[in-house]
Symmetry: C2
Subunit: 249 residues, 2 copies
């Protein structure tokens, strides 16, 4: 079938353009991402790139969607983990941090997308996909919190509501990632592993919410080990290798 061969070609090129864009974005940032540059590196003309993406912003949204798709799968894996709701919300937070460690600029991309005037330029279709992914991510987290309330592990309060707890956890994780990628030298403050710090703070927060069973060091360590070596074994290794490489530079 000749038609489908052409279609395959186009799909491949679409992926190629995205890959090149992602490379430019991680190394040099959005401000140097230009359609001409992508065309040049892919050895196509500018017009061809514009046939795939209406503008820079559209590329960004599609890259974000790829990235969020990964996060989504991480979350769904963490959520289906066999353990108490508390273990699972911890696993979710862990997954969120792992995800941001894997792609150094995932957070920056999403951040950029949230900025004034970026969404306006992207296509409806991509934005819809984005919103749906976001929805999936949120309901994943919310589901666990609601389950904890149902089982009685987490006291059923008016304030903070399940949504508010999710909002706070999400803020903590996102904010932490934001600070990690920004200029502040956390290591100067004696924070060598910010993701672990955040995770440890999360457990204190959960304790503060009286989310049963309360923190026990042995159990927590066992949980993290299981996540590192079982649920997210492959990704954990990838991050480890990456950080070794980074240290060499």
């Amino acid at each position: 079938m000749t038609l489908s061969r052409k279609q395959r070609e186009i799909a491949e090129r679409h992926a190629l353009f995205l890959e090149i864009a992602h490379e430019i974005l991680s190394v040099e940032g959005f401000h140097v991402l230009s359609m001409e540059r992508i065309a040049e590196l892919a050895e196509y003309s500018k017009g061809t790139v514009y046939q795939h993406f209406s503008c820079k912003e559209e590329i960004l949204v599609q890259l974000c969607n790829q990235s969020m798709h990964t996060l989504c799968s991480f979350f769904e894996r963490a959520a289906s983990f066999d353990g108490t709701p508390r273990d699972r919300i911890t696993a979710l937070f862990y997954a969120h941090q792992l995800w941001s460690s894997i792609g150094s600029n995932q957070t920056e991309m999403l951040q950029h997308l949230a900025m004034h005037g970026v969404r306006d330029k992207a296509t409806e279709a991509s934005l819809l996909a984005h919103d749906q992914l976001e929805q999936r991510i949120f309901s994943c987290a919310l589901g666990i919190i609601e389950e904890a309330i149902k089982t009685g592990d987490l006291p059923n309060r008016k304030k903070p509501s399940a949504s508010e707890i999710m909002f706070a956890c999400w803020s903590l994780g996102t904010g932490g990632q934001l600070l990690m990628t920004s200029d502040i030298r956390l290591s100067e403050l004696g924070i060598t592993d910010p993701s672990s710090s955040l995770l440890s703070m999360l457990t204190h927060t959960l304790d503060g919410l009286d989310w049963q069973p309360l923190h026990k060091d042995a159990h927590f360590k066992k949980l993290i080990t299981k996540l590192n070596t079982d649920v997210f074994a492959e990704e954990f290794e990838q991050v480890k290798l990456q950080s070794i490489k980074d240290n060499q530079n």
Copy 2:
């Protein structure tokens, strides 16, 4: 003295340019901020604007510095508040949220500054000033946490250290602000006052850290009232008026 009159003129113009830039930034965002536009609105030529600021990015840093200066004064006011360290760290967090409510785009500006390739273009002097303000803000928060450890209100642990606690609080506040300014419709999740939600989550976190004296509703309400009507009375009124105006639109 004629010389000083000219100097005053220049200083006034500098402020005018910044003001116009800030206006453009809050309404339309960084991507439409152009030197020509500023020049036009200020009724000067482009070259004159360039005599004040080497580039767009330099304007952004200087605006951020203004904004951080405000935050700094908020923090110092909150820190010198008469109360327990726990009350004061709560006041700090409150001040952080208040600050972000006052200028709708303070967080977006700082976020933008942190992005790839922005700092590179700004002048050394402005960046130095920025780093010093950041330092002041951090030590303000860190000082309170360390005091709490010294007085015994907060258990002296290796983990999380004072720095880690500060990092987490800062992440929570910043992340929350990020999510508020992003597209996510928090109100759809039943979160009507995100800043309050975050503040309430902070108290749970502090409880989880066993930071004495633990949360008591009456005391907490009294503290917030005092902050609203005394320490930050003026700013609180400003935010209230602003939100009434926003609701009318």
